[in-house]
């Protein structure tokens, strides 16, 4: 599949259209009509077009779920492995080739249930990759079971081990040391796109939790419900200030609101690394003689 780069140079104008190539044609996309993931797809295309990224320079790693299918709905390299593993593949790919724009796209079940083992540690490792979670509170693809964010906004007691309360992805990310933590709403793709752009520009691990309603299996956290509960982060907020980030989350929680925008963004000093050797030319004259001395 050509990335279009070679057939035509990729000037800003042309860029947008390139992203429709090497992708499942629109009419064959198998999301339910109205699925929030359409908004994420639109926002994602706006973002990569805005940044004039070349598809061949991109590697999208999809989770398993309705959401993860997004990887095949636009141009760019795509990989998809096991449920919950997306972040770990992305970590390795980025460590191997820092020149790639690595974007991880997964669901809330994939990332926070089975995938939390990777989420927590990738926040600590801070690879320069983006994670967009399509958070719909359910396991869509398996027909609507509860995900770790299910119950958002529902006022009830959680009295049995079988039925744990939801947790906050943003707080978990901050606790684990994520250097970029943001939230968006696929009901507002333009705004979401702006946040994705910042995430892609961030040097380090950039986590965007996107409210992406499941119109089929989550009848509570609907578009309307989100519209009533989301609120943009005030202009005054300083994302670099971790304390302010926590305070902001506390304040929104108290007021029963869901923040949209960048909660925290504070890049860590990192050591620059080159792409690892791949080609024979780069590998052929590896001399192991110096290693042999230690065995004498």
């Amino acid at each position: 599949m050509t990335d279009g780069a070679q057939t035509r140079p990729a000037p800003a104008k042309a860029a947008a259209k390139i992203w429709d190539e090497n992708a499942v044609p629109r009419h064959r996309i198998q999301w339910c009509p109205g699925c929030g993931d359409f908004g994420v797809l639109a926002a994602l295309k706006m973002a990569v077009a805005k940044l004039e990224i070349t598809p061949s320079q991109t590697l999208m790693v999809g989770g398993i779920g309705c959401s993860g299918q997004i990887r095949n709905y636009l141009n760019g390299n795509a990989f998809h492995g096991t449920h919950g593993g997306a972040l770990a593949y992305a970590l390795g790919a980025k460590m191997a080739n820092p020149e790639l724009q690595v974007i991880t796209l997964a669901g809330d079940g994939d990332t926070f249930a089975i995938g939390v083992e990777n989420f927590v540690h990738v926040c600590r490792r801070d690879p320069d990759i983006v994670l967009v979670v399509m958070d719909n509170g359910v396991y869509g693809l398996t027909k609507g079971q509860h995900s770790p964010t299910h119950g958002r906004g529902i006022d009830k007691e959680y009295v049995l081990e079988e039925d744990p309360p939801p947790f906050s992805p943003l707080r978990l990310a901050l606790t684990a040391g994520a250097t970029f933590v943001a939230q968006s709403f696929s009901g507002d793709p333009k705004h979401a796109a702006e946040i994705y752009v910042q995430a892609m520009q961030h040097k380090g691990f950039a986590f965007v939790n996107d409210f992406s309603p499941c119109v089929t299996y989550n009848k509570f956290n609907t578009y309307d419900w989100y519209r009533e509960h989301v609120e943009n982060i005030p202009a005054g907020h300083d994302p670099a200030d971790l304390g302010a980030a926590w305070a902001l989350l506390d304040d929104f929680d108290k007021r029963g609101r869901l923040p949209l925008g960048v909660v925290h963004a504070h890049p860590r000093g990192k050591k620059a690394v080159k792409r690892l050797p791949i080609w024979e030319s780069e590998l052929k004259d590896a001399d192991i003689k110096p290693l042999l001395q230690m065995f004498r």
């Binding site: 070679q6 095949n72 492995g81 096991t82 770990a88 790919a93």
Partner: protein, 641 residues
């Protein structure tokens, strides 16, 4: 088989030169067993002797268990580690085992004294008093009590030098390194930067060891200990190297530039080696936060085009199973090292076993192409790892590299020239270059259906094309599909790679001796040395057997094996597991009955286990011999995980 001293016809005793097995034992972490054997091993190697240190004796706890480390030393490369019997026993532990109060002696003597050959040598730390060794002396054992701990503590005022005292003592009674030049050399390398006095102190310690031995010799009126080692001229420099070290170097030489592992015995050493050295070659090594992160990150690096590897042992391999399928279906190359240890589950983490063949060959839901290799020696850990790197790249599937604890941690003398002269080839011809793309234009198909089953692989970032790769079934371009004909085509394409492998790359098992009409001993991986040793010993006792040894286990090379085994008188599989896993595979593919000699008690396979088992089986007594004594060890100590 000959035990103990050699007697002339006239009955006088000859001194055995450059051919002995010694065992050093003591309390783990406290008594410096490995410090002593490392010093001995390196010095003997420099002296032109061949050292083989393939039996690991330690517990899965850090402190307090009994540890031992046997070592074969000889003028020629020894055929194998042979049998449990030792010529010289060095007991570093100086206190009594509280669970053996009634027996006022030490774990090491108590556990290994029975393996000491008649006329052998016992050298023990007598700091807390001498011990009754009458029973041993009655067997002609020469006993040398040395209060090493006390000498170090009270005379030399430095506890750690206690380890050098028995070294000096041993050298004296072997009449080895009389001018201390070798020992001084090693000590200077190690301690000179810390100051000359450290070196001198250690040399004094060694000298005290010499004095004590001479005291005993004089007192007992012994002219010698019955054994001696003579340094030999060294043609070219020699290395004393472990399997893990050899395979790690093989990976680097073979182009691996990304390594990930989660610490686990006995694979951790590979991770530590890679963390220290891979960056020097432009690569990166990562300690995973769990077993899956490590293999997933490695797969991610491989997707990015880098040769990538993970190393683990049993439990970690079990936790990686789902990723075998990812590698298989997404056709992402990965080398998976499994340093087998005794399972199942946590099992016996510090004991060696060969019981993961089933998992490597059959593990995972659904069906994928895969290659399973098992080197037999440190040399093959190096050369076959280079091969593994190329095979993974060519066949774009998981390549399993099965060692075991004894091979991974065990050390052997290998000439340095072996590594310097081995012709390493790195072949990445299944990767697409940008100009290839330009040539065949827009039509790039990651999973193109080809004759060989191999589809050219795109490195992401290459301008001109992109891939869509999925763990779900897919069409040639990589888009998800369940179209029955596409599914069939992709499954068959993937498995055609195995046919190609068997035709182009699979190495048939090595056959030693003529199998026709003879019993054939089959084995795989690290047991080759004992198999060949047993073959000779059996021949000496009038039983001719052939040996068939596998390093390339999977896909099974039926056409190379079946005709040979069908001509054999009988087939006896020798394996360190319960079932005889290779035996089952052979029966499945060759449909010839395979009798078995299996050992799964954590101890190495000894030559006498095989000769004994073969005689039992050939006598028609049994079809399966489960090696191992029923008597528990004389000293009970609890152990950890």
């Amino acid at each position: 088989m000959a035990r103990g001293l050699c007697y002339h016809k006239d009955g006088s005793v000859r001194v055995i030169t450059n051919n002995l097995k010694l065992l050093v034992g003591g309390v783990q972490l406290r008594d410096g067993v490995l410090t002593v054997t490392d010093v001995l091993g390196r010095i003997f190697t420099r002296a032109g002797l061949y050292v083989l240190e393939m039996e690991r004796g330690y517990a899965s706890t850090i402190y307090g268990a009994h540890q031992y480390d046997p070592m074969v030393i000889s003028a020629q490369q020894p055929l194998s580690w042979g049998d449990p019997y030792v010529d010289i026993l060095i007991a570093l532990d100086f206190d009594s085992n509280p669970d053996a109060k009634d027996q006022p002696n030490r774990d090491t003597v108590l556990r290994h004294g029975r393996d000491l050959k008649d006329g052998g040598v016992l050298l023990y730390d007598s700091s807390t008093g001498e011990i009754p060794t009458g029973d041993l002396e009655r067997r002609g054992v020469k006993v040398f009590p040395i209060p090493a701990r006390n000498i170090a503590r009270d005379e030399l005022k430095k506890d750690v030098v206690k380890n050098i005292i028995p070294v000096g003592a041993l050298f004296r009674l072997l009449e080895f390194d009389a001018d201390v030049s070798l020992l001084r050399g090693l000590l200077e390398e190690r301690f000179l930067r810390k100051g000359r006095e450290i070196v001198d102190l250690n040399l004094r310690a060694a000298a005290r060891g010499v004095e004590v031995v001479e005291g005993v010799l004089a007192a007992r009126g012994w002219t010698d200990a019955g054994y001696r080692l003579d340094a030999l001229p060294v043609d070219d420099p020699r290395l004393l190297i472990a399997g893990n070290e050899a395979l790690a170097m093989g990976a680097i030489a073979g182009g691996c530039r990304y390594y990930a592992g989660y610490p686990i015995t006995p694979a951790s050493a590979i991770l530590e080696f890679m963390e220290e050295h891979l960056p020097k070659y432009g690569g990166r090594a990562m300690q995973g936060q769990n077993e899956r992160e490590s293999i997933r990150a490695a797969l991610g690096a491989a997707v990015a085009g880098v040769r990538s590897m993970v190393g683990t042992s049993g439990p970690g391999l079990s936790l990686k199973v789902e990723e075998f399928g990812v590698s298989g279906v997404t056709e992402t190359p990965i080398v998976i090292v499994d340093t087998q240890r005794a399972g199942p589950s946590t099992g016996m983490p510090t004991k060696s076993e060969q019981a993961d063949l089933f998992l490597a060959a059959y593990g995972g839901h659904g069906e994928i192409p895969r290659i399973v290799l098992a080197p037999a020696t440190q040399e093959e850990c190096y050369t076959m790892m280079v091969e593994a790197q190329n095979l993974a790249d060519k066949y774009q599937c998981p390549v399993f590299f099965l060692t075991d604890l004894n091979l991974s941690e065990g050390r052997k003398v290998v000439p340095q020239s072996f590594f310097e002269q081995y012709p390493v080839v790195v072949d990445r011809s299944t990767l697409l270059r940008e100009d290839d793309l330009a040539r065949d234009g827009n039509g790039y198909k990651r999973f193109a259906v080809t004759e060989t089953g191999i589809s050219p692989r795109l490195v992401p970032g290459t301008r001109g094309a992109v891939f869509k790769v999925s763990g779900s079934e897919h069409d040639e371009r990589g888009f998800v599909s369940t179209d029955p004909s596409i599914r069939k085509a992709q499954m068959e394409k993937r498995f055609r790679k195995m046919a190609t492998y068997l035709a182009e790359d699979a190495k048939p098992p090595k056959v030693y001796g003529d199998p026709a009409g003879r019993p054939v001993l089959v084995g795989w991986g690290s047991t080759r040395p004992v198999l060949l040793d047993a073959q000779q010993r059996l021949a000496a006792s009038g039983t001719d057997v052939a040996v068939m040894h596998f390093t390339h286990l999977w896909p099974f090379n039926t056409s190379a094996v079946k005709p040979i085994l069908e001509r054999a008188a009988s087939v006896i599989s020798v394996e360190q597991n319960f079932h005889g896993q290779l035996a089952d595979v052979i029966q499945s593919y060759c449909m010839v009955p395979v009798t078995r000699i299996v050992k799964f008690n954590g101890l190495p396979m000894y030559v006498s286990d095989i000769t004994g088992g073969v005689n039992q089986i050939l006598a028609g007594e049994v079809a399966v011999v489960r090696v191992g004594v029923e008597a528990p060890v004389p000293v009970k100590v609890s152990e950890g995980d």
